[in-house]
């Protein structure tokens, strides 16, 4: 390393880096982080690419910093891309976004403070850098200068503060981060800096303000101050394309935002057509009526595999299913019984059959291998029918019989049937109860207390879907901790809660990994939830679509896309 690089690094460590950044650098120097993990952690703490490149060079990883960037082909300017999205079920107002079709469209004109890229790295977006205080309870975001909204207005901290207050402040919203901060905790620190005071330490907070929290779109302050006006005003955001025309449930037209901060997008525009599900979208793509589709059902997308006219995308994500077993009552109360059920599943075979290989085997915890905080040494659970039978005998549950309750959604029926078939090999008799979405997620009977009656949180065994996230915080705090409001297995383990709290507050990767290893061990032992696979985001485009990179959360990012 030359003298100049050494000087830059030393100056950075002395003058700019806080204790958390210096920890990351120490972890790299001590060999505790590989280059990809370092890039993830460094980006999360707001370290510039230049500094990270210098540090990697210092540790013998020269040139590695550029590997985080996707190889792109030269873009051809012009043309309008035709995109197929599933029709949204409800409103497109940011605070009400809750389904793939809605967030996919809203996410074209709308953007976020940070961005979790397909490699799971949190990178600068509308915020160029961020810094936590010593205990990660206050985060300060430096905003990108010169960002223009579609109405020509320049984005400042006033807009970001109003947008974040909008996100956590509207009572009738779907905001998942309200346990972590409230409107009073958001303030401007000058025209281009925003401070967020958290209710508890969160070492990975920038991840939570990326597009995976899809309601936190940055909009002009005037619109953010009046929830429910964004769509009517023309979905004014900072994205690469601005809305020209929108017909509810039918179509949308967007044109290039020439003043886009990320450079002039190659495409002239985007034409969105809504479809009532995956099958009509597949047919439209095959017939050449659209160029790109959002997420497709695995089975239906097979026709695009190894087909020269199309490009097939299969992106590993943290999206998964949770087969939750009641730990507090009923036939699954004994952890030996729950372990026995989990041990009957032949996971690689199940994944190959249901997801046709487009997934990754799960280990009965939410710690996807793509998360930097997941300890790679956690032992994988495998099928062991002999042990399953022995556990059932020991628990006096040789005639075990129960129902899996789920709803008619994508792979759920097949998933439940596969568990039923595997469990049968160990003499377990499983019935399947498949409901309509309304019934599964409503109180039972309608109007009764929700938390104590809704099927998905109260049945002996329920099967529920969880979307992709950049970090496992939401899964841990809401599904597994004893205080979690989505804790369908009613799991209560003080040791787990303690490890979870350690993880949530930890900013250092080493501490996070130690905590996730401890949590994973407890989950294997107690098995409140079976997570037998993680699901890849599968989609396809016409082969003339260039530079498209899919996202696990269903957003359709088109700023760099071109048509051949």
């Amino acid at each position: 390393m030359d003298r100049e690089t050494r000087r830059v690094i030393e100056e950075y460590r002395r003058n700019e880096a806080g204790p958390l950044e210096n920890n990351v650098i120490d972890e790299l120097v001590n060999g505790e982080l590989n280059r990809e993990e370092f890039l993830k952690r460094g980006a999360m703490f707001g370290m510039s690419l230049g500094i990270m490149g210098s540090l990697l060079a210092f540790t013998g990883e020269a040139g590695a910093a550029t590997t985080a960037r996707t190889q792109r082909v030269a873009a051809k300017a012009g043309g309008t891309i035709r995109v197929g999205l599933t029709a949204p079920g409800a409103s497109l107002e940011p605070y009400l976004l809750n389904d793939g079709g809605a967030l996919a469209l809203a996410g074209i004109p709308g953007e976020y403070l940070t961005f979790t890229n397909p490699k799971g790295v949190c990178v600068p977006w509308l915020a160029t850098s961020w810094k936590p205080n010593k205990d990660a309870t206050v985060w300060t975001f430096q905003l990108r200068k010169g960002v223009k909204f579609h109405n020509g207005q320049t984005m400042t901290s006033k807009d970001v503060v109003a947008s974040l207050k909008h996100y956590v402040g509207v009572k009738q919203s779907n905001a998942g981060l309200t346990p972590y901060f409230d409107a009073a905790g958001v303030s401007a620190k000058g025209p281009y800096a925003v401070e967020v005071k958290l209710k508890l330490p969160i070492g990975v907070f920038p991840y939570l303000l990326s597009q995976t929290t899809y309601q936190a779109i940055i909009q002009p302050a005037a619109l953010a101050a009046q929830p429910g006006t964004w769509v009517k005003a023309g979905m004014i955001g900072t994205g690469a394309f601005k809305l020209k025309n929108y017909v509810d449930k039918k179509s949308a037209e967007l044109v290039r935002h020439d003043a886009y901060w990320g450079g002039r997008p190659p495409l002239d525009g985007v034409r969105v057509t809504y479809y009532q599900g995956s099958a009509p979208m597949v047919l439209a793509l095959r017939a050449g009526q659209i160029d790109l589709a959002m997420q497709l059902a695995n089975q239906e997308a097979q026709v695009f595999k190894n087909n020269s006219k199309f490009t097939y995308y299969s992106l590993p994500t943290a999206a998964h299913r949770q087969l939750c077993m009641r730990t507090d009552q009923g036939v699954l109360k004994d952890p030996r019984v729950r372990r026995a059920v989990a041990l009957t599943i032949n996971r690689p075979q199940q994944m190959a059959k249901i997801l046709l290989g487009d997934g990754q085997v799960g280990n009965d915890n939410p710690f996807w291998k793509g998360f930097a905080s997941t300890d790679p040494s956690i032992k994988q659970r495998t099928q062991n029918l002999q042990l399953a039978k022995a556990l059932l005998t020991a628990a006096g549950a040789t005639n075990l019989k129960f129902n899996i309750t789920t709803w008619n959604f994508l792979d759920h029926p097949d998933h439940a049937a596969s568990v039923q078939a595997y469990a049968k090999e160990a003499g377990i008799d499983i019935g399947i109860e498949i409901m309509d979405v309304g019934k599964y997620y409503d109180s039972e009977p309608a109007g009764a207390d929700y938390a104590t009656t809704t099927p998905w949180l109260n049945r002996t065994c329920s099967l529920t879907e969880y979307g992709a996230r950049g970090v496992p915080n939401i899964y841990i705090s809401r599904c597994y901790m004893s205080t979690g409001d989505w804790n369908a297995s009613h799991y209560k383990n003080p040791q787990f809660d303690s490890a979870a709290n350690t993880y949530l507050a930890a900013a250092e990767l080493k501490a996070q990994r130690a905590a996730t290893k401890r949590m994973a061990g407890l989950l294997l032992q107690d098995t409140p939830v079976i997570t037998d696979y993680f699901i890849n985001y599968v989609t396809a485009s016409s082969s003339k679509v260039k530079n498209y990179v899919p996202e696990g959360i269903s957003h359709v990012r088109l700023a760099k896309v071109s048509l051949a």
């Binding site: 409800a90 009400l96 809750n98 389904d99 047919l283 017939a287 979405v437 309304g438």
Partner: protein
């Protein structure tokens, strides 16, 4: 005749009021919760309650119905709870789409089905009759999504002659819109052909075997004249009644075809509203479809009477 029509309109109004009451009552026992449907399964119950409170869906069903009726008498069909836009803003374009598809399907399906029924009856017991009857039955028994996908694969994907979806681009001319509607119309033709053709065939066979047809033949009239002047006029009467009911289905009951061909008609809109418990939109949709059914049935009855002089309006009353 005017008295008869007025009386039918009065009965239709009573039917529509009852229909709206039934929809509200049934929706009350359907599973689902508007707030949950809008905010998603993982929203907190507090947020869901706040939204339901804002939308007024936590009020009693009677109060909600009264509100809706009060709006209706002032010409307001209500506001969609999930979309927060006037129900008519969603229903109007959907209804227009449904009428377009119903029209194209009608002009293809009805003449073809009647022709098939007539040919089958004239070739009674022969290979042509058996082929038409068997093929018609087979097509009718085939679910719409199977026949629809088959047609899409052949005509849209393999041959590339027709578009895979039914929705033409905004501003498309009539010819283009017609082209886009051909595949769903053919799918519906396959569904209805067997049924309408069988009714026509049965009526034709009965009419061909009637005393008046025999008399006409004995008078020395040619077979063609007997069929055109005497048989067809009588044989088509039951077909008119059947076709009238199918028009209601074509306008408001095409959920599967609309989904398959990505067409935003009334059927899928009503289905979606029912799924999300969006009562104002659901009731307005059902009401509109009810009006279509009742109007078409009334027209069919009047046509029936015009074609059949033996029927007197007094006896119909």
């Amino acid at each position: 005749m005017a008295r008869y029509v007025l009386k039918r309109i009065g009965l239709a109004l009573i039917t529509l009021v009852l229909l709206s009451m039934i929809v509200f009552a049934i929706s009350n026992v359907l599973p689902g919760n508007v707030g949950r449907s809008v905010l998603g399964p993982f929203a907190t119950q507090e947020s869901v309650d706040a939204l339901n409170d804002q939308l007024g869906t936590n009020r009693s069903i009677v109060v909600q119905y009264k509100d809706w009726v009060s709006g209706l008498v002032h010409g307001d069909l209500g506001t969609s709870l999930t979309k927060q836009v006037p129900a008519w803003d969603l229903l109007g374009p959907a209804l227009s789409n449904s009428f377009k598809l119903a029209f194209v399907a009608f002009i293809i399906c009805v003449p073809l089905s009647i022709l098939a029924g007539i040919v089958a009856a004239l070739r009674y017991g022969k290979a042509t009759d058996k082929s038409i009857t068997t093929a018609g039955l087979s097509f009718s028994a085939m679910p719409e999504f199977v026949s629809g996908i088959f047609l899409i694969l052949v005509f849209a994907i393999w041959l590339g002659w027709l578009p895979v979806t039914a929705q033409a681009d905004p501003g498309a001319n009539l010819a283009t819109q017609f082209k886009y509607l051909l595949l769903p119309a053919f799918t519906l033709t396959l569904v209805l052909l067997g049924y309408i053709a069988r009714i026509t065939r049965a009526s034709m066979i009965e009419a061909l075997d009637s005393d008046y047809a025999r008399t006409a033949h004995l008078k020395g009239l040619s077979n063609r004249v007997v069929i055109r002047r005497h048989v067809l006029r009588n044989a088509l009467l039951p077909t008119i009644a059947v076709v009238a009911v199918q028009i209601g289905y074509l306008v408001g009951g095409l959920v599967v075809v609309e989904v398959l061909f990505n067409y935003q008609g009334v059927g899928s809109l009503i289905y979606e509203a029912a799924r999300q418990k969006d009562l104002p939109l659901l009731t307005a949709g059902v009401l509109v479809v009810g009006i279509v059914y009742l109007t078409v049935t009334l027209i069919a009855d009047l046509l029936y009477a015009v074609l059949n002089p033996r029927i007197r309006f007094g006896s119909m009353e």
